[in-house]
């Protein structure tokens, strides 16, 4: 096949191969610019050994980080997005979905499962920012609800790790309503007196923050994660002023009363385990 008649789609997709971490043996910390060897970064759970900058990591890493080896059973992985509104901007939503799936190997921006944290069984929902900015559409909303249902059925705590730019624009009002859907399902969890623990990671903004991310019984955050309703750029454009240093970061959110603890990634599993021990589930709903 001559090069000029090569399938256009294949070309685009090959150019769009991106990775969370750059190739090569070492990388530079975006915060303190220290050169870090890949192996060292990995050992450090993708935090900078010098300044503690937390690199964004995917759902796979959080599963390894938090659950006991071989205990995580992924659930509801068969759910995938459709394109109910036939949404087209410069690209169609369908093409975006295909590209995101190919690039990340994920089926959507949230994974759910049952597993153990230091021997304690939990239901988990883990968001992945690498899939269309961790945006919440129908699939994220449905998986979240099913993971809540799993927690209720098994009477085990429910844990959600958030990373999201907000609701998914390409599902318009349907994705907006996922805020209502997920919040509604959490009332059932509360009725059952089952703990809901949120771990906020960088970044958590928009519709996810304004629904299930802010409804935890216990709320933890990784250091310096961006957490807010409106994105910093939107706020800057509105108020026409530069934002103060540290605005909307985890430390700011804790200072203003919205986060219980800021936890270094290396301490996350231990801290979670402590909370799970200290917040036992009553035997009955009432």
């Amino acid at each position: 096949m001559p090069w000029w008649s090569r399938n256009r789609k294949n070309l685009d997709e090959s150019q769009n191969q991106q990775r969370e971490m750059p190739d090569g043996l070492w990388t530079k910390c975006p915060s303190c610019e220290t050169v870090i060897y890949k192996s060292e970064l990995e050992e450090n759970l993708y935090t900078c050994p010098k300044c503690d900058h937390h690199f964004r990591i995917g759902s796979n890493h959080y599963i390894d980080l938090l659950t006991d080896p071989e205990t995580f059973d992924e659930t509801h992985a068969q759910l995938t997005s459709t394109d109910p509104l036939e949404f087209v901007d410069e690209d169609s939503y369908q093409v975006k979905l295909r590209k995101a799936t190919k690039r990340t190997g994920l089926s959507d921006a949230m994974r759910t499962g049952l597993g153990q944290v230091e021997g304690k069984r939990v239901s988990l929902a883990i968001m992945d920012f690498s899939f269309i900015g961790g945006s919440m559409g129908s699939v994220v909303g449905e998986k979240f609800c099913r993971a809540v249902d799993d927690a209720i059925r098994e009477r085990v705590p429910f844990i959600c790790i958030t990373a999201s730019g907000g609701a998914r624009m390409m599902e318009a009002a349907i994705s907006l309503m996922q805020m209502a859907k997920t919040s509604t399902r959490l009332t059932l969890l509360a009725d059952e007196r089952i703990p809901y623990i949120v771990i906020l990671t960088d970044p958590t903004t928009g519709g996810v923050t304004a629904s299930y991310a802010m409804l935890g019984d216990v709320t933890l955050a990784e250091p310096r994660a961006l957490i807010g309703f409106a994105g910093p750029r939107v706020i800057e454009q509105t108020i026409k002023r530069k934002l103060p240093e540290g605005f909307q970061r985890s430390e700011f959110q804790q200072e203003h009363g919205f986060v219980d603890h800021i936890v270094h990634r290396k301490e996350l599993r231990k801290t979670l385990s402590r909370v799970l021990t200290l917040l036992p589930i009553p035997e009955t709903a009432d």
């Binding site: 068969q78 759910l79 995938t80 997005s81 459709t82 109910p84 509104l85 949404f87 087209v88 901007d89 410069e90 129908s138 699939v139 909303g141 449905e142 609800c145 609701a167 998914r168 624009m169 599902e171 318009a172 009002a173 349907i174 994705s175 907006l176 309503m177 996922q178 805020m179 209502a180 859907k181 919040s183 509604t184 399902r185 959490l186 009332t187 059932l188 928009g206 519709g207 923050t209 304004a210 629904s211 299930y212 991310a213 802010m214 409804l215 807010g228 309703f229 409106a230 939107v234 706020i235 509105t238 108020i239 934002l243 103060p244 605005f247 909307q248 700011f252 203003h256 009363g257 919205f258």
Partner: protein, 320 residues
């Protein structure tokens, strides 16, 4: 002050001006039949323009500066309205009004987002963009309604929750999230009506309940067409296309199964004949309230939960 005229309203206005010009001369001249012909023409034109509105044109109507706002409707539909102020924690947000109300003898709690009519009032009302204390005031009033077994009506009209430094400091996201959680289980009927703009989480923050109605020329979506254009097209110039892609009109939301009904507006929009628009709203509210207040609360709450659980379109290979 000059009358605000949308581009597609202009041909209609031109004929109307001609008619009133001719009327002023009709004392001296016998032009009654000509006026009648023009009047028929303008009605036909108005009808055809308003039957073929694009989504973007409906967005423009939803934002029309002469459109009735929450307090205008309250004045036109309520026997009495006793406004209540403040969230009992920080302050009183004037972008959300609320209080005890009575409509045709039915007592209820009414809450709505409020835009300003002139420059000064727009500032006071913050262009209808609530801060966290607005959502918390709304929640306080909803809890009050629950305690006294009063139904809740919310009127939605906001370009969004305010994106400001102080709003973030006081927990804009938390205040909306809390309202969603509490509205999902509030033990009293809730009717939501979009009367203008329904922009994203800022609208949903007072927008959950048992029945969602939309006035004919309103929009409700996850983002405004302009912001959608700026993010997805990386330019502000694609707002018409964005409005089409978002499918954000009342008709669209009924089709998606999110809205339950469309409240008609007079031809030419609610701003042309506000009293008529208010009558339509009042009739629809009474009907919705009478239907909901008949139902036992546990059944109502179950239906409310089922209603939100059902929203979402996805592939579920295991079932398919």
């Amino acid at each position: 002050m000059a009358k605000y005229v949308l581009e597609f309203e202009k041909p209609i206005l031109e004929i109307e001006e001609k008619i009133s010009e001719m009327r002023s001369m009709s004392d001296q001249l016998d032009i009654g039949p000509e006026i009648e012909v023009l009047e028929q023409k303008v009605e036909r034109l108005r009808k055809s323009v308003y039957e073929q509105l694009t989504r973007w044109q409906r967005v423009q109507l939803a934002r029309h500066p002469d459109r009735p706002y929450t307090l205008d409707y309250i004045a036109m539909i309520c026997d009495d309205f006793f406004e209540m102020h403040g969230d009992r924690s920080f302050g009183d947000d004037k972008a959300i009004v609320g209080g005890l109300a009575q409509i045709n003898g039915r007592k209820l709690v009414l809450i709505g987002q409020q835009k300003g009519r002139d420059t000064n009032e727009r500032k006071v009302r913050n262009f209808g963009m609530p801060n966290p204390e607005g959502y918390r005031k709304a929640l306080r009033l909803m809890k009050l309604a629950e305690r006294f077994s009063l139904p809740v009506v919310t009127l939605i009209d906001t370009p969004g929750a305010y994106p400001g430094i102080e709003a973030e400091e006081r927990g804009q996201a938390e205040s909306i999230a809390r309202n969603l959680f509490e509205m999902a289980r509030l033990k009293t009927p809730i009717v939501n009506v979009v009367i203008g703009e329904g922009a994203s989480g800022g609208a949903l923050g007072i927008g959950m309940g048992d029945t969602l109605l939309m006035l004919e020329n309103t929009w409700f979506s996850v983002i405004s067409p302009e912001s959608c254009s700026s993010i997805l097209w990386k330019s502000w110039d694609y707002k018409e296309q964005a409005a089409e892609a978002l499918r954000l009109t009342a008709g669209d939301l009924v089709e998606m199964g999110i809205a339950d009904g469309i409240i008609p507006e007079p031809i030419g929009g609610a701003h042309r004949l506000p009293k008529e628009a208010a009558d339509f709203l009042k009739t629809a509210l009474i009907q919705a309230l009478d239907q909901l207040t008949q139902q036992p609360i546990p059944q109502l709450l179950r239906q409310r939960r089922d209603r939100y659980a059902a929203i979402g379109v996805f592939n579920d290979a295991a079932v398919a």
